[in-house]
Structure formats: structure tokens, C-alpha cells
């Protein structure tokens, strides 16, 4: 299946200059009212930007985390943040509402939110359910595998693991249900486990599940061809898929299904590789694949459905040995966030 996009008259267009997020980031998300864009950063902060005006204005960052801020998700009223040391927090604006210090033992991988609950998964192999109101633990399930990704409807949680399995759980008790398999997402190369279900999303009409990852060629460099798979939830069948063109393109890193049926998604592979893509399930190709900035790690769709935010990486992000900055310093890489009219 070719990855070459068709020419499209309604192709997304970059709008304005990227927001200069000064460090690397893993996730971007809009608040439900669309006024705030939150960015989960590798310096353990959630950077926030007021995007209601003509130009984005930076709001106070949310700190008090450790390692990387690995996940964030907006509920109806609160922002939930999680880090790679296992801490889970809930925020009312810039005020911390509650924190669970050790929600997981180590890397908390992903968050999903419903009206009353927040769900977490981690490298410790657990999936957990928490009260969104006060952070009380409701239920847990030991998946006995590194669980990388989550998404939820009001009745069902979907959890994707390192080995390409997406388990379903009845909410809020986390009663296990059926499983969806994408075995192509995983490879044992020499002694390295490579791949996994990197991201999950439900279609707005609740009928389809999208799972993003890659078909790994090998470990180390981690050459892998991005792969996005669509499942019909009623039948449990795999209905369509998009696969990238070559193993330098890397992973499907994040998904944002649009109400009009298109799926926006990002990819990131070898430094310099990675784009924003638009795909209509069932099509052989994407209708758009592009962007000035490479190595895109997250995409969020504004509630108005007209704008998307894409977190990418500066150019020339790789280099063996000592890379010098303009001032002779040793620079870090960063994740500029580009707004797109979609």
C-alpha cells in the first residue's frame, strides 16, 4: 500500500509561526473550551498557552512533577498530568487539586479521561482507574506487560501494550473484555523488544477504534514503517489500514480523529523524518502528508474542528559527539508547536 498522498484542494495549511516550546514534548492537547493548549514537556512541566487571541500567550507552567511529563489529558473541568516517575496530578487552572505520588511504579505511560474517572497505565504493567474528583483509586488490572496507550468511551477503556494487543475493559471496574491484535506492531530483535501500540483513539461516532504504531524492522536505530489500523468495534474486525513507505519513517505517534471522518495523525522516525498526515479510513493513501517541521510527536484537534496543533522537533536534531550551539554551548532539542488550519 503506497504512502504517497493524493493532491487535495482542502489540504491542511500551516498557520502563523510555531509556538517556541523551549524543550522537547510528548503530547499536546486543547482544553474542552478550546482556549488553552497544554504541552507535556521533557522537563517535567506542563506548559500552557492561551490560544484564544490572535497570538498564543504563555500561561504559568504547571510543575511539581519529575522526570518527563509523559501524559496529559483534559477532563470536562480539570487537566490531568502524569510523569515518568509515576506521579498523577489533577489541576484546576494553575492550582493543584490532588496528587497521587506513586500512581504507578515508574513510567506512567498514558492517560484517558471520562466524566467521572481518569485512567492510567504504566511500565509496571498495571492499568488503573481513579476518581477524577479526588484521586481515589477505584480499580486496577495487572496486564503483566508494559502498557503504552489508552483511550476511553464512557463505558469502555482500551489499553494497548508493547506486544501489539489492545485489551478492552468495562468501566469503571476494569472488568476485562475482548482484545484486538496488531501483531505487526511488535518485534523481538536480538534481545530488544521493539514497538508496541503507541497510540489509540476512538472515532467521534464511537464506531471505530484506531491503533497507531509501526512495523519494526530492527532494534537499536529502530527502523520501522509507520502503521495505522482501523477496527470496527461492533464486529471486532480490522477494516482498513495505512502503512508508510519505508522503515526510516518511524512510528505513528498520535491520533486525532475528526468528526467529518478523517483521521489526523503524526509520524516520527529517523531525525528529519515525520509529518502530519490526513487519512480517510478505507483509502489506500493519505490525502495529505506534510509539514515544514520534522519528527512530529503529537497532534491535537481544536474543539471547533478547524484547527490542529502539531508538536514537532527542530531540524538537525541528531548528531554523534559534541554538537555545538551558536554560542558554543551544548544545546538541547526542542518541540515547536505548529498550528494548522485543517
Amino acid at each position: 500500500m503506497s504512502a504517497q498522498p493524493k493532491a487535495a484542494s482542502n489540504a491542511p495549511k500551516e498557520v502563523g509561526k510555531p509556538i517556541a516550546v523551549p524543550v522537547q514534548a510528548s503530547r499536546v492537547r486543547f482544553s474542552p473550551d478550546g482556549k488553552v493548549l497544554a504541552v507535556a514537556c521533557f522537563d517535567a512541566k506542563a506548559r500552557r498557552y492561551d490560544v484564544s487571541g490572535k497570538e498564543p500567550a504563555e500561561l504559568p507552567a504547571l510543575g511539581e512533577h519529575n522526570g518527563w511529563l509523559s501524559a496529559l489529558a483534559f477532563g470536562e473541568e480539570r487537566l490531568f498530568t502524569a510523569d515518568s516517575w509515576g506521579r498523577l496530578s489533577a489541576w484546576d487552572g494553575a492550582t493543584r487539586a490532588w496528587t497521587v505520588e506513586a500512581a504507578h511504579d515508574g513510567w506512567l505511560r498514558a492517560l484517558a479521561v471520562t466524566k467521572a474517572h481518569v485512567f492510567t497505565c504504566g511500565r509496571d504493567g498495571f492499568v488503573r482507574a481513579w476518581s477524577a474528583a479526588d484521586g481515589k483509586k477505584i480499580a486496577e488490572f495487572d496486564a503483566k506487560a508494559d502498557v503504552l496507550s489508552l483511550c476511553a468511551s464512557e463505558s469502555t477503556l482500551f489499553a494497548g501494550d508493547l506486544f501489539g494487543t489492545v485489551r478492552t475493559f468495562e468501566l469503571p471496574a476494569l472488568k476485562p473484555g475482548r482484545a484486538f491484535e496488531v501483531k505487526e506492531f511488535y518485534k523481538l530483535d536480538r534481545i530488544q523488544d521493539v514497538g508496541g501500540v503507541k497510540c489509540l483513539a476512538l472515532s467521534p461516532n464511537g464506531k471505530s477504534l484506531f491503533a497507531g504504531g509501526a512495523e519494526p524492522k530492527g532494534g537499536g536505530f529502530v527502523e520501522c514503517t509507520p502503521l495505522l489500523v482501523a477496527f470496527d468495534l461492533a464486529s471486532g474486525k480490522r477494516t482498513s489500514q495505512w502503512k508508510g513507505a519505508n522503515p526510516a519513517e518511524g512510528f505513528v505517534t498520535d491520533l486525532a480523529p475528526h468528526a467529518d471522518g478523517r483521521v489526523l495523525f503524526t509520524t516520527s522516525g529517523q531525525p528529519g523524518q515525520g509529518k502530519l498526515h490526513v487519512w480517510k479510513p478505507g483509502d489506500a493513501t493519505t490525502s495529505f502528508s506534510g509539514g515544514k517541521l520534522p519528527n512530529c510527536h503529537s497532534v491535537a484537534l481544536h474543539p471547533n474542528g478547524e484547527v490542529a496543533a502539531v508538536s514537532a522537533t527542530n531540524a538537525n536534531s541528531s548528531g554523534n559527539g559534541r554538537v555545538k550551539g551558536t554560542g558554543g554551548d551544548y544545546p538541547n532539542n526542542a518541540s515547536p508547536v505548529q498550528m494548522w488550519k485543517v
Binding site: 513510567w107 511500565r123 534481545i191 530488544q192 529502530v222 529517523q270 548528531g319 554538537v323 532539542n333
Partner: protein, 421 residues
């Protein structure tokens, strides 16, 4: 002083002391003599993590700093010394380990770096220096085991790798055991009698001699030596059958390549092989590095900690110098593929055992791990350290190559005295 074979012999006084009461050659079967010989062994376990293990996710974590990555650090068995959470079993063995956190080497490419590190990167004198394994085979000798002195356990294919020996000559090359298996066709076929096998070998030797007459001796010597080593291994074929070991051992080391190969390494060291190198490939994590480390590092952690514990339990850590090393570390900077690239500027090497202080850390990097903050240690300094630990003083011992005296380690460098016992 030049190295002489006499240095590697059991002294007459010790031999007689240990074999008192025994008669003639029968003394060699005396357990007291055998124990004495074992006590005098000088051996090396050299674990090579090919591609380069990240110092930041192993021996020199910098949590909550700009390049520190997602992982936590954990306390070790030595108060005040912390390592990455990805090495929980090694953390429990820290009281047996010495870390050098100020390693700074010269080459950031694999192709040149592997050679430069394993040959000790000496001053260029127009000769090809031996790999550390070949150097130890020459300077320490084969010992009393009757086994090849330099055995390399590695994934994929095996064979006799004479190029490791450099100017020392082919017989100091590595016998590589592909996937930890003995050389193919090592055992005499069941339908071939011992006498017939002897006759075949005599014929082979005759043909080898004729073949060698018109060829460069270094090439034909390698061939002959490979047969001799295979014959030596043939006598110890039981070493390779790990299935007869307790299940507990196999569980502690792991069923993956690195686990199985380190368990075999323990068996080879127990049998008296002087230098055992264990290579693991696939550590060049330019992409998805942190998930790679989360998978790879525990597969080093468990068997490496297990072999340290086992060598200590057997009283062998006094004899065996243990080293975990690579061609370089990995960049603090995280690239767009969430990988770390090659970084010789500031990385770490772990060691333990013979001649090494236990539970110490030498050198340090700055707060963000981007530079060595103390005197940098190049591989030449590590070679000085390792030779000293083995009782070979580079100030006194030299190679002699066709009459040319050559230092065994970089002339301008010194050992890391903080880690020498």
C-alpha cells in the same frame, strides 16, 4: 623487563608446598595442588555491549536534569552511590563493583571506535596492537586449564578470529563460539574410531605442512592453531550443555542470548579459561532509545549481577577481573527520534574482581552529564588499570615484536589509582 613465560608458572616453592605428600605426577591430581593452581589463576570476564550503552540510563544517572531522561535513580548497596532504576540487580552488587564515571575517549564512530577501544588506543608505532583479550592471552598465558586462553562468546557465527591478535601472531587470536555453541563438527563422529580419527589427523597435519611450505607462516599458523584449540575444547565438551545446570541458575541469568552467554562464561571461567569475552549486539539506540533501554538494560542487569554474585560465592572474584564496557556512551542530547547518538566525551565503565577496589566510584561528570568534571580517563588509562589489576605492570613489561620493544599500554597514560586495590 620483558615478559617471560616463567612469570606464568607456579613457583617451585608453592608447587612443592601444595603437593607435599604427593608423589611425582600424581601430585597434579591432588586436590590441594589443584586448589593452589586455581588460586593463582588470573582471569578476565570482558562484557562488551556493542553499539554503546547509555551511561545516563545505567552507571551515571542524572535524573531531573535537562538530559536526564524519564528514569529514576536508585540507591545501591553502597551508601551515596546511585545508579539507574534499570539496573536494580547491579545496584545490589555495587559493594563489589568499581565505577569509572570520567571515561573520555577519542572516537565517535563504531568502525574505528571498537578497534581503538579494544586495542587500548596506544601511540601509533606502525603496528597493529592486539585486542585486550589477545594481550591477556599473551601476557598472562593459558594457565592450567588446558583450554584456549581467549574465548569469545557471541551471537551469530563463530570461528577463529586471528585478527584480534595483531602483531602478537595468530595463536593469540580469539576462539569465537557463535551463539555460545562449540565449533561445528568438534566431536568425533560416533561411527569413526579413535584410531581412525588419529590417522586422519596425522594426514591433515602432513597436508597442512605441505600447504604451509609455500605460504606466509602467520596464515598457516592460525589454521593449525585453530585445530589445536578445537581439540582442546573437545575434551571439555560438557561445558556447553547448560541444560544440566539447575533451573534456578538458568532463571537468574535469563533465557535470552546475553543471559545464556554469561552463564556459559561462568562455566568457562570455572574451567579455567584465562579471558572470556561476551558480546551483546544491538545497543546502538539512535531511535526510541528509552523504550529500548527499558528492554535492553534489564537483560544486562540480571545476568551481570548474577555472575558477580556467583563468582563471589565461589571465591573467584579474587582471581577474575570483570569489566563491562563498550566503544562509547550515548549523547546527553535526545534526537527527534527520541534516541541518543554516539558520545565518547563523558561515559562510564564498570569493573570488579581481581585487583579492583570494591564499592568505589572514580571520577565524575558535571551536573548535566555533558562533560567530565574530573581528570578524564582515556582507554589507555583503563588498559594500565586492568593490566595492573592482573599483576602485569606496564612500567616493567613490554611486548617485543621482531626485536622492537613496544609498551603494552599507552606510554603517556596512568592507571586509575582510585579503583586499584
Amino acid at each position: 623487563m620483558l615478559c617471560t613465560p616463567g612469570e606464568h608458572r607456579v613457583t617451585r616453592r608453592k608447587f612443592l608446598g601444595a603437593s607435599a605428600g604427593a608423589v611425582g605426577l600424581g601430585a597434579l591430581a591432588n586436590p590441594a595442588v589443584a586448589d593452589e593452581l586455581k588460586k593463582q589463576r588470573r582471569q578476565v570476564l570482558f562484557v562488551w555491549l556493542d553499539g554503546g550503552m547509555s551511561q545516563l540510563e545505567s552507571w551515571d544517572p542524572k535524573p531531573n536534569t535537562p538530559f536526564g531522561g524519564p528514569f529514576r535513580s536508585i540507591q545501591t548497596s553502597v551508601p551515596g552511590v546511585r545508579v539507574s532504576e534499570l539496573l536494580p540487580q547491579c545496584a545490589k552488587q555495587m559493594h563489589r563493583l568499581a565505577l569509572v564515571r570520567s571515561v573520555s575517549t577519542q572516537d565517535n564512530s563504531h568502525s574505528a571506535g571498537v578497534d581503538r577501544i579494544q586495542r587500548g588506543d596506544p601511540k601509533n608505532r606502525g603496528v597493529t596492537y592486539p585486542y585486550f583479550g589477545s594481550a591477556v592471552a599473551k601476557l598472562v598465558g593459558a594457565g592450567d586449564s588446558g583450554l584456549p586462553p581467549y574465548v569469545w562468546v557471541k551471537p551469530m557465527s563463530g570461528g577463529f578470529i586471528y585478527k584480534h591478535a595483531g602483531f602478537l601472531g595468530p595463536k593469540f587470536g580469539a576462539l569465537a563460539l557463535g551463539d555460545g555453541k562449540p565449533p561445528e563438527n568438534l566431536l568425533r563422529p560416533k561411527d569413526l574410531s579413535a584410531e581412525a580419527d588419529d590417522e586422519r589427523n596425522e594426514l591433515r597435519k602432513l597436508l597442512d605442512k605441505e600447504y604451509a611450505a609455500n605460504r606466509r607462516p602467520e596464515l598457516t599458523e592460525a589454521n593449525t592453531h585453530a585445530f589445536e584449540m578445537a581439540a582442546q575444547l573437545q575434551k571439555k565438551i560438557e561445558l556447553f550443555d547448560l541444560s544440566k545446570l539447575p533451573q534456578k541458575d538458568q532463571d537468574r541469568y535469563g533465557s535470552h542470548d546475553l543471559g545464556r552467554h554469561l552463564l556459559l562464561a561462568r562455566r568457562l571461567l570455572e574451567a579455567g579459561v584465562t579471558f572470556v569475552k561476551v558480546t551483546s549486539y544491538g545497543w546502538d539506540t539512535h531511535g526510541d532509545h528509552f523504550n529500548g533501554a527499558a528492554s535492553l538494560h534489564p537483560k544486562f542487569d540480571k545476568p551481570f549481577a548474577a555472575i558477580l554474585e556467583d563468582l563471589a560465592d565461589r571465591g573467584m572474584l579474587d582471581n577474575v577481573l570483570v569489566i563491562a564496557c563498550a566503544e562509547f556512551g550515548r549523547t546527553p542530547r535526545i534526537n527527534g527520534h527520541i534516541g541518543r547518538d554516539h558520545w565518547p566525551e563523558a561515559w562510564s565503565v564498570a569493573m570488579a574482581g581481581r585487583g579492583i577496589k570494591r564499592g568505589v566510584v572514580a571520577g565524575r561528570t558535571n551536573d548535566t552529564g555533558t562533560d567530565v568534571a574530573t581528570d578524564p580517563v582515556d582507554i589507555g588509562g583503563l588498559f594500565h588499570t586492568w593490566f595492573r589489576a592482573l599483576g602485569v605492570n606496564p612500567e616493567e613489561v613490554q611486548y617485543r615484536n621482531a626485536g622492537q620493544p613496544l609498551p603494552i599500554a599507552h606510554d603517556d597514560m596512568k592507571p586509575v589509582s582510585e579503583v586499584l586495590a
